[in-house]
């Protein structure tokens, strides 16, 4: 059974007299353990889709099943519980509490899970260890670099062991080297069995993902291996982007070969 089943999802906003369709008819299924990039230009509806996937918003039409539960018609409190239980968010702007330490930030979702204090602390420390930040636990977000902040955010997303890791432009506010570090972290998490949905507008990032879905005007227009979808997208965007995608796919292949040297034909 699929982890995510979107069934003819539509989302419309009433803006006075006009009705804007952010999503028209999205049909999508994501299996547990997949790493899917959702790619699209700004205004394509990918953010709306991301909000619906993250249960931050509800669709106007269609059905959304997440982890075996129909969440398209849940009440607000139930949605809050689903967000806590099933989803780990990683945002472009990190979204850490400024006055809380890294450790307290990572503990926060466990408060809403109802985990006792001692276990909260242990699990938060463990999550920070997984992103190699266990030496920065007492630091406030302002005392951390961008990459470190995003790693705190990833630790916070991981600490609840969510069914779905939802990343919205996670490298958008980072320089390319730090961004690469974060992408590497996501690939690593994917290898360890996490299901990841990554929303981006960059074809080169989508090219690194095993699967990519391209959204245009609220419709899915391409769904396939990351490199292919990214390439189709990049061709429309010009030679420079094509070069970026080619470079990215080369990196991805090299990494795949390095991981599985015994696999024949790779």
């Amino acid at each position: 059974m699929a982890l995510i089943e979107l069934d003819h999802i539509g989302k419309a906003y009433d803006l006075g007299l006009t009705r804007v369709h952010a999503l028209r008819d999205i049909h999508l299924a994501i299996e547990p353990g997949e790493f899917v990039a959702i790619i699209g230009q700004s205004g394509s509806g990918k953010s709306t889709l991301m909000n619906i996937l993250g249960c931050l918003d509800v669709p106007t039409t269609g059905r959304y099943r997440l982890a075996g539960r129909d969440v398209s018609e849940l009440a607000d409190d139930e949605l809050a519980d689903v967000r806590n239980l099933e989803i780990g968010f990683v945002f472009q702007s990190f979204q850490l509490l400024p006055r809380a330490s890294a450790l307290e930030n990572v503990e926060l979702p466990l408060i809403y899970r109802g985990i006792p204090r001692k276990e909260r602390r242990e699990r938060a420390i463990e999550a920070l260890r997984r992103v190699q930040l266990d030496d920065r636990m007492k630091h406030k977000p302002t005392e951390l670099s961008g990459g470190q902040r995003q790693r705190v955010a990833i630790a916070r997303a991981l600490v609840t062991e969510p069914s779905l890791l939802l990343a919205d432009e996670p490298t958008g506010n980072l320089d390319s080297r730090t961004g690469e570090e974060i992408v590497g972290l996501f690939l690593d998490l994917h290898r360890k069995g996490n299901t990841i949905v990554l929303v981006t507008h960059e074809p080169k990032l989508a090219a690194r993902c095993p699967r990519a879905v391209r959204i245009v005007d609220g419709l899915v227009i391409a769904d396939g291996p990351g490199v292919e979808v990214a390439m189709a997208n990049a061709e429309a965007m010009g030679a420079e982007v094509v070069a970026q995608v080619l470079a990215a796919s080369a990196v991805a292949e090299a990494a795949a070969r390095a991981r599985a040297p015994e696999a024949p034909g790779s």
Partner: protein
Amino acid sequence: MKPRRIGGLGRVVRFAAEVGDAVVQAARSLLAHRLRAALTIAGVSVGIMAVIVIFMVEAGMTNSFASQLNSLGPNTLYVHKWAWGVGGNDWWKLRNRPVVSQLDYRAVVANATLPLAVAPLANAEAVVARGEKEVAHVDVRGTAEAFLDAGGWQLRRGRFISDLDHELGSDACVIGADLEDAFFKGQEPLGQRLKVGPTARCTVVGSLVRKGNAFGRSQDGLLVLPLSSFLRTFGARRGLTIAVVAPAGKVMETEDEIVAVMRAARRLGPDQADNFSVNRQDKILQGFNQTMMVTNLVGILVGVITAIVAGIGIMNILLVSVKERTREIGIRRALGARRASILMQFLCEAVMVALVGGALGVALGAGAAALIDLVSPMPASIDPKVVLGGVLGSCLLGAVFGLWPALSAAFLPPIDALRHE
């Protein structure tokens, strides 16, 4: 795939953890904006202090009034033409009553069996002089021996006016402590002569122990003459008051007896109403309570106004806090905070401000009480009920005025809150 759930125990732990987190976050938020918080807290504490002081002063007034009334003698009845504590409307009914006369006094003395003491009272204001020295506005009383017991006075020197003085119309007089101080500082007053009013002379035969103030004026500026001498000087048609000391616990019976004796003396038929009044000190209390009710209402009004002003301060600080922490609200909602969690968090901040303010206000109130106690004759203290009321009241204030901002925070759509810059 089985949907995950938060179990019953988890909900309990979650609630406890949310409360703990809310307290920590509220404290951090207030500490991060110390000046803002301090100003609001000052507002709340001044308000709470004002209310406490108002009610404390009121309680003090009531207490001191009650103890002053006691100085009139709790078991003393006063037979008089006028009824005490009666408003203007009845004045017309009472003004045509005959005055209480010496005949009424003699009738009560002769016929009433229950009273421990019966004293006639007449008073006038006069200038008292000794040589060059004059004292104006002296409360001159005409009475008999029983006055000492009826009024709760004690002799300091010499003797009191005796019934013989009254019968003889002697020129003996007894002076209060104020007069003794005024005329005979460091001298022996007994046997000295005083001039009372324009014509009368009297010889001091005794002086009274100081009694202190009642209703804001000294009771000790008095000069007591035998009733007969008083009437000779100040006019015989003057109305009297008859003070009747009832045995303890038999005040009502004594009152009934006095009414019967008076009615008989005045030959009132069964169909005629009393043309005199038997007054007790609690009738004054009734009048006083009416006055105090107005003061009370003013106190309550001031309390309500200060509460509203302080509450608006709390609401303001909270609205600013909600605005500043909008992103945080979005983050928390994304991580699984329910509306109730957000609501509680901001209510917690409001209650914390109010509580600190309230505690400070109670402390200030206690300080004010100590000060009042020290500098004014009114005994003032703060009782535990006031402390509890101040603390609980300020909590309630915080919750009520924090509710709207907290609700507005709780009902922010999570996406909008997350996108807030």
